[in-house]
Point group: C2
Chain length 274, copies 2
């Protein structure tokens, strides 16, 4: 059932008047804003950024959920430190798994007996699962649902952009020209689908040598040129360090992480609500 009154994309939506909207809403869910985290390229830290956004929003008192749309390579359960939990359901709904700090999460790995086993499925089945994660999971009341997108600009990305009302999308990149090229593809895809690109978060920007303290640039990409060419905003830079690599230990490293991520989350909130 499409419902423009409660739709997070109503403000920018063009299909409302045309009557072409195909988004389905579960009447038991009330999700105010949907933020998608994408890259196009794999392994750049989409899931890490998704979890950081969720944690920070939760700390600010918001009701938060994470939908892990990377069906064949799900990372969210481990990063949230709840990899051994399993989702339950009844005839009507799937119940999301909840972290100790109250973030609701849904991932394919919550439905697998053994997380090492692959799902060898064709596209239509995978996209069907993502739609179920949106529609049949009992998210309840959420201020923010974060969607961790799969790599690539294929089936699943397309389905999410068509069938979930995304308030805005954040692109994750690393400062390497090869990666920027593929992130550019993702930005162009989002724009073709009329989705608001909130900006780019640059991950793995540098590491700090634990012995001599030198800030080592890992890659030599021209971030400034990339940002300018694509006409997007740089929301912030994240270093590659132990704190960021081990989000399972988030609580122990909270202060260090906050120094880096607090300005980024504030920019995101401004963009999404401003």
């Amino acid at each position: 059932m499409s419902n423009c009154n409660t739709c997070p994309s109503a403000a920018t939506c063009s299909s409302k008047d045309a009557g072409t909207c195909t988004i389905e809403f579960n009447p038991n869910n009330n999700i105010k804003k949907v933020i998608a985290v994408m890259s196009g390229k794999g392994g750049v830290g989409k899931s890490t950024v998704s979890v950081l956004i969720a944690k920070k929003l939760r700390e600010k008192g918001y009701k938060v959920g994470i939908l892990d749309a990377d069906i064949t390579g799900p990372s969210i359960p481990r990063l949230l430190g709840i990899k051994d939990k399993r989702a339950t359901g009844n005839e009507e709904f799937i119940f999301p798994v909840e972290t100790d700090d109250g973030i609701k999460a849904m991932s394919l790995n919550f439905l697998m007996e053994d997380e090492n086993q692959p799902v060898i499925w064709r596209g239509p089945i995978i996209t069907g699962v993502v739609q179920q994660f949106w529609n049949e999971v009992l998210w309840g009341d959420l201020d923010y649902l974060i969607i961790d997108m799969p790599p690539g600009t294929g089936d699943v990305a397309l389905t999410i952009m068509q069938s979930i009302p995304i308030t805005g999308i954040i692109m994750v990149s690393v400062p390497q020209d090869l990666v920027s090229m593929i992130v550019a593809k993702a930005i162009n895809m989002a724009r073709k689908m009329n989705i608001n690109v909130l900006g780019v978060i640059e991950n793995m920007s540098y590491i700090v040598c634990p012995d001599c303290g030198k800030k080592i640039k890992l890659f030599k990409g021209d971030t400034e040129k990339f940002i300018k060419d694509l006409g997007v905003e740089l929301l912030g830079e994240i270093p590659m360090n132990e704190d960021m690599n081990n989000l399972e230990l988030y609580n122990e490293n909270k202060d260090n992480i906050s120094k880096i991520f607090e300005p980024i989350i504030n920019k995101i909130l401004e963009k999404v609500n401003g």
Copy 2:
């Protein structure tokens, strides 16, 4: 047309006697061995490893091709330093692009006017393109065809495993438990499909501080346990450094790269031919 006599998988194939083989061969191609490079996880260096294997085999005098099966995130043209070339074709064939050192390559980006534009295609179209890259590209005589697989265990991976005769598959990982879990999925998928897993190459194992020379471990994954649990061989470790990050400058860094990759390629050749 299936042809067991010239098939690179004939030795280990179980569908020969059962008559269930669905692999098609282009009679104008004669490809002796097919090595697939996979990971399951994105961004771990599959394309880098694919190009390193191709370069080293070429240096040893073999006829080599690379098929970039990552249709929505193609990296091969840039890594080979031929991103501005375009593929041509006639009514019958697509002609691969050739590097100065004589490696034949086919990638979706060779067919795009602008490499920044995404292909927003559903699964069946993407898998169709990969099959065309195998069947309709005029590879001619090749000793080795290297296939750079896309991330994930979805459609494209499945199609390649079903419709291309893979001699052996190499898994690329990084020493991070989250990644190992997803690489385990890929290994289990390959085994389910009766594909010979040659071993694992560990990428981003460490970096060396340019100031003080300290070897910095970037991640804290337990590689030994992962290798043992999965019953696979570690073919070698690759550091994260400028030489490896800028394969476009391969010729300038050849000696440094050789020190690291020569033992790895020799192990691969032993596995594939032994």
